[in-house]
C-alpha cells in the first residue's frame, strides 16, 4: 500500500473521510435550503422553478452535484463500515448488562441509526422529486415572461405532494432526525480534522447547535406551510 492508501484505511483516515464528506454535505444543506425557501414566494412558483432550472443546467452546479452524489455514497458506506467495525471492537451489540447513558448524548450514540433513517428519507425524497423531474416527463412545461426557454413546473409537484398529510409527517420527522444527526455531526467533524482548541471550541459548539436547529426547522416549515396555508 502506498502512503495514501494506508491513510485511507487507517482509523483516522476513515474518520477524516467521514468528516470531510460530512462537512461538504452540511454546506450543501444551506444551498439546498436557500433554494427551497423560494417555494415560499407568493409568485405561483416562478422563482422556485427558475431556480431548479438553473440548478439542473449550470455546468458548474452539475459538476458539484456529481461530487454531492459521491459524497453521500461515501459518507453512507464509510459510516456503515465504521459502525460495523465499532460494534465488533466494543464487544458486540449487547455489551453491558446494565448500561448507562450518563456520559454520552443520544445523538452521539446513535449516529449510525440516525444516518440510516436519513438515508431512507433521502431515497424517498429523491424518488418523489429528483427522479420525477430528471427521468420522467410527468411535469408540465412553462415559459415565464422574459425567459427564452421552457422550465419544468416542479412547484406544482411540490404543492400536490405536500397536501398529503403522511408526506408532511414523514418530512417533518425526518428533519428531527436530521437535527440530531447534525447536533453531533457538526462539532464532531471539526474535532476529527483537529479543530478543537479552548479558544474557539465554544464558538464551534454554539454554531453547531444553531445550525442543527435552524437548518432542519427551515426545511420542515415548507411542507407544513404548504399543507396548512397554501
Amino acid at each position: 500500500m502506498n502512503w495514501f492508501q494506508s491513510f485511507l484505511v487507517s482509523s483516522l483516515g476513515q474518520k477524516i473521510v467521514m468528516s470531510l464528506t460530512g462537512l461538504f454535505l452540511t454546506i450543501f444543506l444551506i444551498v439546498h435550503l436557500v433554494g427551497n425557501l423560494q417555494l415560499l414566494h407568493d409568485d405561483g412558483g416562478q422563482a422556485f422553478n427558475l431556480y431548479s432550472y438553473f440548478m439542473t443546467h449550470n455546468p458548474l452546479i452539475k459538476t458539484v452535484s456529481y461530487l454531492l452524489y459521491t459524497g453521500i455514497i461515501l459518507h453512507t458506506i464509510q459510516g456503515l463500515s465504521l459502525w460495523r467495525q465499532n460494534r465488533k471492537a466494543a464487544g458486540g451489540m449487547k455489551r453491558y448488562v446494565k448500561t448507562s447513558t450518563a456520559t454520552s448524548s443520544f445523538a452521539g450514540r446513535n449516529m449510525a441509526w440516525l444516518g440510516i433513517l436519513i438515508f431512507i428519507f433521502l431515497v424517498i425524497h429523491l424518488k418523489d422529486f429528483w427522479y420525477v423531474m430528471k427521468f420522467t416527463s410527468q411535469l408540465e412545461m412553462i415559459t415565464y415572461p422574459g425567459q427564452d426557454h421552457e422550465v419544468k413546473n416542479l412547484y406544482q409537484l411540490v404543492s400536490v405532494e405536500f397536501k398529503e398529510l403522511w408526506v408532511v409527517v414523514i418530512y417533518s420527522i425526518s428533519m428531527v432526525v436530521l437535527a440530531f444527526h447534525l447536533l453531533h455531526g457538526f462539532t464532531s467533524a471539526f474535532q476529527t480534522i483537529g479543530a478543537n482548541h479552548p479558544k474557539y471550541m465554544t464558538l464551534i459548539k454554539v454554531v453547531g447547535k444553531l445550525y442543527a436547529f435552524l437548518i432542519p426547522i427551515g426545511f420542515a416549515i415548507i411542507p407544513i406551510i404548504f399543507y396548512c396555508c397554501k
Partner: protein
Amino acid sequence: MKINLKVWRQKNTNTSGKIVNYVVNEVNPDMSFLEMIDVLNGQLVRKGEDPIAFDHDCREGICGMCSMVVDGRPHGPLHGTTTCQLYMRNYKDGDTIYVEPFRAHAFPIIKDLAVNRGAFDRIIAAGGFVSVSTGQAQDANAIPVEKAVADNAMDAAACIGCGACVAACPNGSAMLFTAAKVSHLNQLPQGKAEATRRALNMVKQMDAEGFGKCSNIGACEAECPKEISIENIARLNREYIKAVFTGE
C-alpha cells in the same frame, strides 16, 4: 447498610459468563468499594466458594489496575476517580449495584472482572517514547520549555492507562489513551524529533489491536479518572494529518 451486588462471573477467557447475585451486609459508609468486595470475598472463601477475581493494586487511584464497570460506568458514578477511590458513602442502604468487567474486543476477559490490557503496552511500544538512551541527555535546563506547554503535556501525561476510556466508549476506541501519549510527547521539544513517526506508528498499532474508531462521543473524557480532555484527540488528529501529508 445492606448492598445487593450483581456481579459478572466468568471462569476464564473461553467460557461464557453470567451475572450472579450477592448480598453484603454491614457495609460501612467509610469503606471503599473494593474493601466491600474484599469483605464479600472473605465470606465466599469461608463458604468454600471461589472469590471474585478483580484487578487492583495501589488503591489510591494512580496505578490504573482496577477496572470495573459499576452500574454501566467504568470506575463508577463519580467524576475523576478510579474504582478504588469510590467510597460506600455514595450509596444508601438497600441499593443494588451491577459490577461488570471493562469490555472491548481488544481487552479479553481473564476471569470475572479481570481483563487483559496488554494492547496498551503494545501501543506504547510502537512509539510512545522518546528515543534517548541512558547517558545521552544534555543538561536538564539546556532547553527551556514554555510553562503552558509543560503544563499541557503534564495534563496529558497524567493518563494512568486504566482503559476506562475504551470501556466507556460505545465504539471501544482507544483514541483518548493513544492521543494522551502522543499529545504529551509531541508537544515537548524533547519529543518533537520523533513526532511524525510517533503519530503514525501508534495509530497503526492501535488499529491493529482491534480498537474501534473514535466518533467524538466524549464518554471517554467524561469517565476518565484523570479527566484527560478530548482536546488531546483533536491534537492527535492534527499530528496525524500533519504526519501523513507533510512527513517523509
